[in-house]
Symmetry: C2
Amino acid sequence: MDQHLDLDILARTELFRGAPEAVLRETQAVSFRKRIHAGDVLYRQGDPITSIYVVIVGRLCVTQTTPDGQRVIIRYLNPSEMAGYAAITGTESYPGTATAIDDVHLIGWTPKAFRKLMTDHSLIAMNALAVLGTRYQDIQLRLREIATEKVEQRIAHTVLRLAEQAGRRTSRGIEITLPLSRQDIAEMTGTNLHSVSRTMSAWETEGIVLSGRRRVTVCKLHALAQLAEQTS
Amino acid sequence: MDQHLDLDILARTELFRGAPEAVLRETQAVSFRKRIHAGDVLYRQGDPITSIYVVIVGRLCVTQTTPDGQRVIIRYLNPSEMAGYAAITGTESYPGTATAIDDVHLIGWTPKAFRKLMTDHSLIAMNALAVLGTRYQDIQLRLREIATEKVEQRIAHTVLRLAEQAGRRTSRGIEITLPLSRQDIAEMTGTNLHSVSRTMSAWETEGIVLSGRRRVTVCKLHALAQLAEQTS
DNA sequence: CGGACTTTTGAAGTAATTCAAGGGGAGTGG
DNA sequence: CCACTCCCCTTGAATTACTTCAAAAGTCCG
């Protein structure tokens, strides 16, 4: 019965969308489950690659750390998303670190098993390709933003994206459901927590956002969008 | 005979490496050739996607332009590399613009034909996956650099990469074979031509590089690497 | 209630951009 | 061959955006 549950779940993930049941069953047969607790590390930058996963429950944060210890947030992973893509692209070690934000359930495969699945069922390979293509475009956009925009604009774009990807309607506005410190936002936008704090304080004064300890709620979406788009 | 030439060429590209001859022949049969002149545009950001290509001769530069007209250089494409990956990831329109640096020869496919090739021969899909994975990691690195490093360091890293990817040994050092204006370097590093010019002038004074109109030669590779790595 | 973590804010300092002007090289056309 | 023009590059000076430093206040949790 657990197996049946898995099949349903897999069928809804970005990697296995559209796969016939037989393929899903085969996929499930060579998979393993994994659970980690909030704050635990799923894999660490530089570790040899052992697995590729699909997130079932909970969220992860993928970061990279520079030689001198500065962190950059690469992306957040939600349920149904692939984690550890590097396993399928021939890389030797994980390029980033994945840390659990919540308690996380995953379904995983060895790179070898997954590669066999992709070889036998090109749909899976094509899905993986679509996923990577989308992520590539996402990061291109971020590169463009960080290369061309000023700090306030970058923060605006980042908060808007988070509101879209992890936002929940509340009476006061769109609450971002991720725990999000000033430091976190700084690590997404290439600045420091002080600049983020100043910017957000100013926004709070104008009623554009509400924010407290690791919480952000967007009240005036339109005003924020305007800040993000301003040519100035 | 042209066909035979094509097969040899295709066999050496990143997308078709390892494919048996029968597959290459099939691939070649549904391909078309295209030539464009230096300075011409292969595809433009926002255009509906019509083709995916492999570069045979010549080089391309892929850029993105912001709504307010600022350009960012995404990457350079060399012979054997794929151009127009978006065709295979389900995107509607090209996310960037590809401009020919030299006269360029390409082999191309319609997205439909290429998708059929990938479906029928998962090796091709896997190769495409490896290519995208590598590019994703490349751009992650650049994002990290631009997010954490100061301008001089970013320029150093960028010039080092260019020297590695497009460098030619000469008596004076490693000459970057791409025409490379200050503006170009600025568009790769998220700064402006003035800062690049100042930085490079300083380096020239110290004998680290030689540079002139759209030309850069790295003389003291080690010194440049040191500038790039400095924690300071 | 103590302690750790997060946020805020002023003040000082600095890196980088912007503004402005001029110089130099390559190629073109007379 | 010379002169003209178009790019591209350089460099000072002024300005600004951002970071860094420093200190303090707020918030959550056990």
